[in-house]
């Protein structure tokens, strides 16, 4: 056990101190894509909106969106647990995107990812980006990033989500490869099988994790799974102690086997006393007992304030774009790529003056 602990500690220490960040050096394909896409827009106008922070995309969009039949939940089904301290390293990954304004054909966007690890009660991070790139409505899909057009129709929103997924998946995979016997936390779910989120990549991630005895745990802040218009997290509303409810079978049987694939066992979990309940997905091929053990170890190792792991919270904070980030990136686009900033025409304001609605009338 002590030998394994030393190995575990060494492995996380090694990847933290690689010199190219926790997840390693950014693949050249990302940088090439960014440079090429933005170089092609040199000298173009970028139409910006004043309250750019309002445009921040939601961090995660679940593939599922359904109102479910659920029946009653027996108290015996709720697994109460006590946090168990462990030496398992914890690493969390999160990414964010932002649209900085509109180009003549498409948008100027930025992407940032963060990996946070917990080692000997000390948090370390590596932040990748911001990566600046443009996405066009008529853009040819970039196969090297796994970006393909959806039904032949290219759409900036879809493309942006895929670019982000691409970086996120690379970070998750790199971290999982570097860790041994660790807990890998990701933001969102382990649901795959959509064009944005191919099941092959998710399968590969979980496979790599299993080989290194890592446990991938996905925690979703906003789940689309609902029971009679209420989120499934409401099932644990009345419980105050740390507990888990396995809702996997009841949910899975209400979805067809194709195309959406639930690659994680779905729990509703409250990870801290009086904390918020979250949807938690754990690798399906791991036994329920091991899943519960992994979650107990997570809550005994990481700080779980308000029911949310600190590593994931920090990863979210570090990857999120602030308004000043947006200003800095716009300024860089001007200085390095000759993009000219122009305030976007406030159409509503032009038409309706003070009687319009929405942001345009405020500025």
């Amino acid at each position: 056990m002590s030998h394994q602990s030393t190995t575990v500690q060494q492995s996380i220490s090694d990847f933290v101190h690689q010199g190219h960040g926790i997840a390693g050096e950014l693949p050249e394909r990302f940088l090439r894509f960014c440079r090429l896409s933005i170089e092609s827009k040199r000298g173009e106008f970028l139409y910006t909106e004043p309250n750019i922070t309002d445009q921040l995309l939601p961090n995660n969009c679940d593939a599922e969106c359904n109102s479910l039949e659920f029946g009653t939940v027996d108290d015996n089904e709720i697994i109460e647990f006590t946090p168990t301290p462990s030496c398992r390293p914890v690493a969390a990954i999160d990414t964010s995107t932002i649209r900085l304004g509109e180009l003549e054909d498409g948008s100027l966007c930025a992407l940032r990812g963060a990996v946070v690890s917990l080692e000997r009660k000390h948090y370390k991070y590596t932040r990748y980006g911001p990566l600046l790139f443009s996405l066009g409505n008529s853009m040819v899909a970039d196969r090297s990033l796994g970006i393909t057009s959806s039904n032949g129709v290219s759409n900036v929103e879809i493309l942006l989500r895929r670019v982000r997924n691409s970086l996120e998946r690379w970070l998750q995979l790199s971290v999982t490869r570097s860790l041994v016997s660790g807990l890998v936390l990701i933001d969102g779910s382990l649901t795959a099988g959509t064009p944005d989120n191919p099941s092959g990549e998710m399968e590969n991630l979980l496979d790599v994790a299993r080989r290194s005895e890592n446990l991938v745990i996905a925690i979703s802040k906003n789940t689309q799974l609902r029971i009679q218009d209420k989120s499934i997290t409401a099932l644990l509303e009345l419980n105050s102690e740390p507990c888990l409810l396995d809702v996997d079978k009841r949910i899975r049987r209400q979805f067809p086997a194709y195309p959406i694939q639930f690659m994680g066992r779905i729990f509703v979990g409250k990870l801290a006393r009086s904390g918020f309940p979250f949807r938690i997905d754990v690798d399906r091929r791991i036994s329920t007992e091991d899943c519960v053990t992994g979650i107990k170890q997570l809550t005994g190792t990481d700080i779980v304030d308000q029911g949310y792991p600190e590593t994931l919270r920090i990863a979210h904070i570090l990857s999120t774009f602030t308004a000043s980030d947006a200003l800095a990136i716009q300024s860089l686009a001007t200085a390095q790529f000759g993009i000219q900033l122009m305030p976007k025409l406030a159409l509503r304001r032009s038409l309706f003056g003070p009687f319009g609605t929405g942001w345009e009338t405020r500025y």
Binding site: P130, L132, I314, L318, T322, A323, S324, D325, S331, L332
Partner: protein, 483 residues
Amino acid sequence: MKILKKEGDSIQLLCFPDEDVEKGDYILIRDGTKERALISQIIDVQYANIPGILEDLLRDGISESSLTGEDVDPFRVSSQLEVLKDTRLLIAKIRGAMQNNRISRDVSWLPSRIRAHVEVMSPNLLTRELSDKHAFELGSTRRSAVIASDLSALDGRLNIITGRKGTGKSHLSKLLVTTLVKHGAPVVVLDVNGEYVNLGRMNGSTEPSTKIVPLIPGVNLRFSLAEIGLSTFLGILVHALSLPDNSSRVFARIWRQLEEQNSLTMDALRTAIANFECHESIKDALQARFNTLDDSGIFTNDRKVALSLDEVFRKQGSGMALVINMKNQPSTLRRITVELFISKLTDLLSSHKLKGLFLFAEEAHLYLQETYWDDIVTRMRHLGLFATFITNQPDTIDGGIYRQADNIFIFNFSNEHDLEIVSKVAKLDGETIRMIVRELPPQRCLAVGDLVGNFPMVINVRPLEVQTMGATRYFFQDEIAVA
């Protein structure tokens, strides 16, 4: 720098980290291609309110305390972010304009926000229109090694030097005194702390200068009754010693009788008061006041030791300072001395025996009657007595005097009450005074008025070559020096 906003005479500018500006600096806002520019002075430097800065700083705070890590930033966006975070907001006041390279006060126009070019301005451009007939070095600014001014801007003017203790008021006052003397002007210093007496000695020298004449009341500052005259003597009795009207009329009669008998001496006065037939209360009042004056030692019957101001100024020729050293003297004697001196000087100026005179009064509230303030500021000014008041208690000078001051030098004040009083100066807005003055370091002052071309300037007062004394004395001097 970029113009952000203008409201009234205030203008706000964004200033980027590589631009070096401070409070008090002047900037020139050139209006694109037109040959005109706004002259503005920075009165406050703040952080620019960048959107999202709170979130950024909180994030930085987290990563500085409990987190370590690194950023892989291939586009170097962080450098742009640092620029944003350190961008400052300058609050400036419009002071004038530059039209075809000439200073003008026409500021009714607005420069283009897009095409305006903002640059730091040398303060020498602002004082260059002062006459250089009596040029002297006042000090320096951050932007200019030498700020030259002209003494004519003190001539016929009312000046105030104020600031907290130990900030350098007396130093500036001494600089002005020695400069005036050097340029041939007569100066009188009312010195309550005895700190001007060595002004005549160059640093390292033991030889006193003949241009600085220290006078100690009762020692080498004594007057004969003939030199003083009835009106001056009576003035002292009434104003300095509060002699009632009835008694003053009796005293005038006694004086005239002795004058007619050609026997006007202190002894004769004492005897005449004792023997004069009048009401006992009047006699008592006169005797009490007379004894006070006699005990002061400031009057003498010996004409050889008596000081004749007329003769002193005539003999000395141009350029001299009489320093009335009133250190350790009781307040009554100070009041008598000052009353006597000012009265005598007024006589000399009225009779045109003196062309003009610069009076430097340190902490004047300690010896100057309230009735005299207005007199000095208005009537005596027309006669040629040009006062400079020096004080660390600004509320001891009447608000009306601040409004009339032609030059004012404000050293550091941090007390709100003091700042409120000095902000009544007519030549400058209160906001500028409050913003700049509270952060001035020692030996640096905000100069306002004719001496700086009516462009307020933050000036490091030039060091003096003469022995100054008067610097605040410390018990732990050695330790302070080492530190």
